[in-house]
């Protein structure tokens, strides 16, 4: 019998919330990817996005605000055989969790990071999030936003993420395809997901986004993939990704901006000096015999301390 990737829990997102589309795309992607559900872990932070793991029938961990990435990295590095996905919000990932977000670009551990991007902190009643543009005023703000905004696409590129994409929660077909491709990507991927908050973001609504979005893949010449470490190709792909990443006001591109297959993942980098790491990662090692005797020889391991 096919595994049901949805749990039977009642979902408490607001009616009309973009999160429903993400949940649909995610569970379809998991189902179509054919992955053993026991080998998938879904990690989230805090906020509306943070509830996602409870609705998905794979192992899930609803962590601390902003900390989904380091939890996920620990899981992945202890057992690189697992597929580890992260669902997070814009405030969660680019505000309180920004340090971890940037650090993960350097590591390229192999996470699939989804950012539910609605420009507001919904669960705490609509404060401006790091992706809200300067001067924008949504209904719960007493004054226009006096912060500039972070661009998730160009930040992800600068941080070193090797797969950068944008989806729209009301286009579940495209989003599902992006998630599936991101899951196959060996390094870490970021998917910025336009996810209108029907309760607190009355400026960028589903209707507004629907009019502005277009798909990168509709241009037949669009090719974001880097397959060899040719300097020229790298430069060209980065430049086009940044250029598309800067588009926002009138038209908003969705799809895959950048995919670099040449950067070794962190587990591969570890295995270069720890030869047995991929075969016997920390989680699969046995540390004692059946009597509880440690299998380590401390005197030999620390022979350099013997006088």
């Amino acid at each position: 019998m096919a595994h049901n990737f949805r749990t039977d829990l009642a979902i408490d997102w607001c009616p009309g919330c973009g999160d429903f589309g993400i949940l649909t795309a995610l569970t379809q992607a998991l189902s179509e990817s054919g992955t053993d559900p026991r080998n998938v872990v879904l990690a989230s932070g805090i906020g509306c996005s943070g509830k996602t793991p409870h609705y998905v029938n794979v192992a899930g961990i609803h962590t601390l605000h902003g900390r989904a990435i380091p939890f996920a990295v620990g899981i992945k590095l202890a057992n690189p055989n697992l597929k580890v996905l992260v669902t997070s919000g814009d405030g969660d990932m680019l505000g309180i969790g920004a340090g971890h977000f940037v650090a993960e670009g350097r590591r390229n551990v192999g996470l699939t990071v989804m950012i539910y991007d609605n420009q507001v902190y919904g669960l705490t009643k609509g404060q401006a999030s790091p992706t809200m543009t300067l001067g924008m005023q949504t209904k719960s703000l007493s004054k226009p936003n006096i912060f500039g905004s972070i661009n998730p696409i160009t930040l992800a590129l600068s941080a070193g993420y090797t797969f950068v994409a944008r989806g729209f929660s009301f286009d579940t077909k495209q989003l599902k395809d992006i998630i599936k491709r991101a899951m196959v990507h060996e390094g870490s991927s970021v998917i910025d997901i336009l996810q209108p908050c029907p309760t607190y973001n009355n400026v960028n609504t589903m209707e507004v986004f629907r009019k502005k979005v277009y798909k990168l893949e509709d241009d037949k010449d669009w090719d974001p993939v880097i397959t060899n470490s040719n300097e020229e190709q790298l430069m060209e792909k980065y430049q086009q990704a940044y250029k598309k990443g800067m588009e926002w006001d009138d038209r908003i591109p969705t799809g895959i901006f950048f995919e670099n297959r040449t950067v070794p993942s962190f587990p591969k980098r570890i295995s270069e000096h720890s030869k047995s790491y991929l075969e016997n990662p920390p989680a699969l090692q046995v540390v004692s015999d059946e009597h509880g005797k440690s299998i380590v020889d401390p005197m030999k391991t620390f022979a350099d301390r013997i006088v």
């Binding site: 620990g74 899981i75 340090g99 015999d289």
Partner: protein, 632 residues
């Protein structure tokens, strides 16, 4: 009583090879069969400021340090200035004759306040504000200056490179020669330290010869120390001990963010990540090594270790006060979500950045209370290097057994103390695993069907279950149901009662010394061995006393401690902090107030001389509270 008892301070500029000198001295004495203990003191600085190693040699394992020293080895003028108070009758001061022209005003790397104190002292004794003035002062206190032309001794035998390159070897060799350590032992030490770098070993051996000749010719040698049967031993710091214990105890994932004095443990693990196995026991088992990850901050360090722990990997992190502060939310999560994770917490001087490279025991109450909300945890502490080894195995065991955060406290003095360890026996602490569910099953991760509070722990990759920092139901989904909340809180706290029942009291607190003595000294951490020496000192003066040594603060052995203290006439707490935190823990748990306290919070290790006089003062009723102030 020990026939041999030698105290040495060797000092010089940070980055100037002090560690190498001290290593030579320690190893040379070891080759001669004499055990050494040493501790490093240094500034938060890469190059230039005063750093020193305090050593003690005995014919039986030394346990503590004392002033005045028998030999002060100065590799720079600052060392002479800085240690002006550490000289007594017969102390030898070994220094480069070139220092004799140095002025205090030129010693720019001495902290301004220290320089002012030295100046005041010299002025009050009508001495010039230079090295000669300090040496005069030292002579007044019975010190014997031994000026040696460092450059000449080196260049007479070695022509390649600057002579200064060999000053650390010279300082060590002169010390060893004066103290009568045979030259072969010194040469063996040199060979150890420089490994197979023949080109480096050769000139250094020449400097050993030249230094020994110089001391011989000038009649500096005090005596022939002779040789005791030397057996193979390990020279280990507290940092080493924790790393070794963790590897034995099955640690396979460690995270850290660089911080003094904790990150040495992680770099030691990195250097030894290719574990050597017991072939017979492990041949059919999956073996790999330790994965050590440097993280972007300590929030990441604790949460990443938690993530790894959830795959079934024995995981830990190591940090110090400032990093531990950042870990608070992660530790609270580990408590709520019942994650087996070990936090090795190296205490240093706080608050804030405080004294980043100095000793303190001021984070005990913080360790007991870190993290918002109420959750069970184990807080334990080690007092010597061997305890660092075995306690690290136990910490990993407790984390697995009770599925909670274990905070293992080690203080800076212990972390940077090098002790002789005869051998390591992993069989002393067998590995205890966790209660696991059937493989592949969808489980109730937080099953309430448990008397001792311990539910079978599913792992990612084997089971499907959920976790959340919110209060949760048995499946791990968010709940705000009032009854489920109560039951989950009570289940979590039952674990600490289970731990209290299962962990032997001797692992929590011990009586050392004369059990019937009605004077009780109470301490924890690195003062353990020092107080044992004090018990001997007191008994030589006809004073009977015992030590109540505390090792675990949560769960706390309230009944045991209460019994001991009730039967004591005089109780004195001895701690390296300002507010006697362990005494506070005792009062909280037993209602007994310890009225006599000895404290030290200047960041330097406690020494035998200052502690003995403080204890005696209190026993004689001349004082209730003593503040110790030794140490440059």
């Amino acid at each position: 009583m020990s026939k041999i008892d030698i105290s040495i301070v060797i000092g010089g500029p940070q980055g100037g090879g002090i560690d190498t000198s001290s290593n030579m001295i320690t190893r040379a004495f070891s080759y001669s069969g004499f055990p050494v203990i040493s501790v490093r003191e240094f500034h938060s600085n890469i190059k230039g400021r005063h750093s020193y190693v305090h050593l003690r040699v005995k014919d039986e394992k030394p346990k503590s340090f004392r002033y005045p020293v028998d030999v002060l080895v100065a590799l720079d003028p600052d060392t002479i200035f800085e240690h002006f108070e550490d000289i007594g009758k017969g102390s030898k001061i070994i220094y480069d004759t070139e220092f004799e022209t140095s002025d205090l005003s030129q010693a720019r790397m001495i902290m301004r306040d220290t320089a002012q104190r030295i100046k005041n002292e010299l002025e009050s004794k009508k001495q010039p504000l230079n090295i000669k003035g300090v040496l005069n002062l030292m002579k007044e206190n019975g010190g014997i200056p031994i000026g040696i032309p460092f450059s000449k001794v080196v260049t007479s035998v070695v022509s390649e490179g600057p002579a200064t390159r060999y000053f650390n070897t010279l300082g060590a060799s002169v010390t060893l020669s004066i103290l009568g350590v045979d030259k072969d032992s010194t040469k063996s030490a040199i060979k150890d330290i420089f490994g197979n770098k023949e080109k480096v070993i050769e000139p250094n051996l020449k400097v050993v010869d030249s230094s020994y000749d110089y001391c011989e010719t000038n009649g500096f040698k005090i005596r022939d120390l002779g040789k005791m049967p030397a057996k193979k031993v390990m020279l280990l710091t507290g940092n080493d001990g924790a790393a070794i214990g963790k590897i034995i105890g099955g640690l396979r994932f460690q995270t850290y963010y660089p911080i003094t004095p904790a990150s040495d443990e992680s770099t030691i693990l990195e250097e030894h990540d290719s574990i050597k196995w017991l072939e017979e026991e492990s041949q059919n088992l999956k073996r790999g090594g330790v994965t050590v990850i440097q993280t972007e901050d300590e929030i990441s360090a604790i949460t990443m270790a938690c993530g790894a722990a959830l795959t079934g990997t024995r995981s830990s992190t190591a940090t110090s006060g400032p990093g531990f502060s950042l870990m608070a939310e992660g530790i609270s999560f580990a408590g709520m979500d019942e994650i087996p994770v070990v936090i090795t917490m190296y205490q240093r001087g706080g608050p804030s950045t405080g004294l980043p490279t100095r000793n303190q025991q001021s984070d005990l109450l913080f360790a007991l209370n870190t993290g918002h909300g109420e959750f069970p945890r184990i807080v334990m502490s080690s007092g010597d290097v061997e305890e660092c080894i075995y306690d690290s195995i136990k910490a990993l065991n407790y984390a697995q057994r009770y599925q909670l955060p274990v905070i293992h406290l080690i203080d800076k003095t212990l972390a940077n103390t090098t002790e002789v360890v005869d051998s390591i026996d992993p069989d002393l602490v067998p590995i205890i695993g966790r209660v696991s569910p059937e493989k592949g099953s969808e489980i109730k991760r937080y099953s309430l069907n448990t008397e001792n509070g311990i539910s079978a722990m599913g792992t990612f990759g084997n089971n499907i279950f959920w976790m959340t920092g919110d209060e949760h139901d048995e499946l791990g989904h968010v709940t705000e149901d009032s009854m489920m909340r109560d039951r989950q809180m009570e289940k979590r706290f039952r674990k600490i009662e289970t731990a209290r029942k299962e962990i032997p009291v001797s692992e929590m607190a011990q009586i050392i010394g004369d059990e019937k003595a009605d004077i009780t000294l109470v301490t924890w951490g690195s003062q353990k061995s020092l107080v044992i020496d004090i018990l001997d000192d007191l008994s030589r003066e006809g004073i009977r006393a015992k030590l109540l040594y505390l090792r675990m603060f949560q769960p706390f052995p309230s009944e045991f401690v209460s019994e001991v203290l009730k039967k004591s006439r005089k109780v004195i707490s001895i701690e390296s902090n300002m507010t006697s935190q362990a005494a506070t823990v005792i009062r909280t748990n037993t209602g007994i107030e310890i009225k006599n306290n000895i404290v030290k919070y200047n960041g330097r290790h406690m020494t035998e001389d200052e502690l003995l006089s403080a204890v005696k003062k209190i026993i004689e009723g001349k004082s209730e509270r003593e503040v110790l102030r030794n140490g440059a």
